[in-house]
C-alpha cells in the first residue's frame, strides 16, 4: 500500500480526533506535503458538513408530553402473547447474540466427527462390527465383502460370485447367444 493510500484511510479518523498522537502527526505531515490527499481531506470535510446539515434538517423538536403519553400507553397496554414471543425471539436471535452460535456449531460438528476417533468402541445403534457384506452390487449374483481391521489398519475387499448367481449368469449367457 502506498503512503497516500494508507494516509487516505486515516484522514477520516484524523478529522474525528480518533488517532493516537503519533498517527495524527504522521497524517498531518503527509497532508502538508501532498496536494492530492489535501483534496481528499477537503472533500471529507465537505461531506461531513453536508451530512450534518442533512441529518439535522428535519430536527423538529418533538413535544415531550404527547411522546411520554405514547410511551405510557405502551407500558400499560397488555400485548398479545404472540407479539411478546416474537419480540423475545428477535432479541434472542438478533445478529450480535447469534455470534456465539457460529463457533458453537463448528465445535459441535468437530466433536461429532471426532467421537469415533477418541471413542473407537462407541457406536450408535448397537455393537461395533468391522465386517460388512454388500449384496449383488450389479444384480447378477456378484457380491462384495469388506473386512476392516482398525488396529492393524488393514482393509480387505473380497469380490465373489455365489453359486446361484453363477447359474443365472450362465443361463443369461445361453439365452443371449454369442456376442459379436
Amino acid at each position: 500500500m502506498t503512503n497516500c493510500e494508507s494516509n487516505r484511510e486515516s484522514i477520516g479518523s484524523w478529522l474525528d480526533g480518533e488517532l493516537s498522537p503519533g498517527e495524527s502527526e504522521s497524517v498531518r505531515l503527509h497532508l502538508a506535503g501532498c496536494a492530492a490527499c489535501s483534496e481528499v481531506r477537503r472533500q471529507l470535510e465537505s461531506l461531513n458538513l453536508a451530512l450534518k446539515n442533512q441529518l439535522t434538517a428535519n430536527a423538529a423538536e418533538i413535544e415531550f408530553l404527547p411522546f411520554w403519553r405514547g410511551v405510557q400507553q405502551r407500558i400499560n397496554q397488555k400485548r398479545p402473547w404472540h407479539e411478546e414471543f416474537l419480540e423475545r425471539c428477535r432479541e434472542l436471535f438478533s445478529a450480535p447474540r447469534m455470534a456465539w452460535s457460529v463457533p458453537a456449531v463448528i465445535a459441535l460438528v468437530l466433536a461429532l466427527a471426532s467421537i469415533d476417533f477418541y471413542l473407537p468402541g462407541w457406536r450408535l445403534g448397537g455393537p461395533r462390527n468391522n465386517f460388512a457384506t454388500v449384496d449383488s452390487i450389479d444384480a447378477h449374483g456378484r457380491s462384495v465383502a469388506l473386512l476392516r481391521e482398525n488396529e492393524s489398519k488393514t482393509t480387505v475387499i473380497w469380490l465373489y460370485q455365489d453359486q446361484e448367481g453363477e447359474n443365472e449368469a450362465a443361463e443369461d449367457a445361453t439365452k443371449s447367444g454369442p456376442a459379436f
Binding site: Q43, L51, A57, I62, F67, G70, V71, R74
Partner: protein
C-alpha cells in the same frame, strides 16, 4: 441539584415511575433524532423512539450500570431501527413525499438561486446515497455525525470493536464520497 442518570435508574428500579419519566425527558429528542437519521421517516422514527423507551422500562431491572444509560438506550434504539429497516420495505412513493417535505422546508432559507440549485441537488443525491448504505454503515454515520460519539461509544452501542467502527466509517464515507464527488 439534578440527579445523575444512574441515580434515576436506581429510583426506577425501586419502582419510581417519575424517575423514568425524567430519563425519557432527557433523552427522547436524541433517541428520536438517531431513529430519524436511520429510518428517514418521521412517523417510523417516532414509533421506534417510543418503543425504545417502552423496552427500556421493561428491562430497567437488568441494567447494572456497566455502560452509561445513554449508551444503553441508544443500543436499544439502534437495534430496533436496524431491525425495522430490514423488515420494512417502504413504499418508494411514500418515502419520496416524506423527503420532499424536508427539502421544501430547507429551500425556504436559501437565498442565492445558484447555491439553492446546487444545494438542492446535493441534498437529493446525498439522501439517495445515504439510503443505499447498509444499516450498519448508516448507523455509524448517524451516530458519529449527529451525536459526535467516540468510536468506543459507537462500538459499545453496535456491539463491535473500535477497529470495526473505524473501518465501517471509512467505507461508508468512501461510498458517499464516490457518489457525491461532483458536488463536493
Amino acid at each position: 441539584m439534578e440527579l445523575s442518570d444512574w441515580e434515576l435508574v436506581k429510583q426506577c428500579q425501586a419502582g419510581e415511575t417519575s424517575a423514568f419519566q425524567e430519563l425519557v425527558s432527557r433523552y427522547h429528542q436524541k433517541v428520536f433524532m438517531v431513529s430519524l437519521g436511520l429510518l428517514r421517516n418521521r412517523e417510523d422514527a417516532l414509533d421506534v423512539a417510543q418503543e425504545t423507551f417502552f423496552r427500556a422500562y421493561r428491562k430497567i431491572n437488568s441494567f447494572q450500570g456497566d455502560s452509561s444509560f445513554y449508551t444503553w438506550i441508544y443500543r436499544i434504539a439502534v437495534n430496533i431501527s436496524i431491525d425495522a429497516q430490514r423488515r420494512q420495505k417502504r413504499n418508494p412513493l411514500e418515502f419520496r413525499e416524506s423527503m420532499d417535505g424536508v427539502l421544501e422546508s430547507q429551500n425556504e432559507v436559501a437565498k442565492d438561486p445558484f447555491t439553492d440549485a446546487h444545494d438542492r441537488e446535493l441534498r437529493e443525491h446525498l439522501t439517495q446515497a445515504i439510503n443505499e448504505l447498509t444499516p450498519e454503515h448508516k448507523a455509524v454515520i448517524v451516530l458519529r455525525t449527529l451525536e459526535g460519539m467516540s468510536y468506543k461509544d459507537i462500538g459499545q452501542i453496535l456491539g463491535c470493536s473500535e477497529g470495526t467502527v473505524m473501518s465501517r466509517l471509512h467505507y461508508a464515507r468512501k461510498k458517499l464520497q464516490d457518489k457525491l464527488s461532483v458536488f463536493l
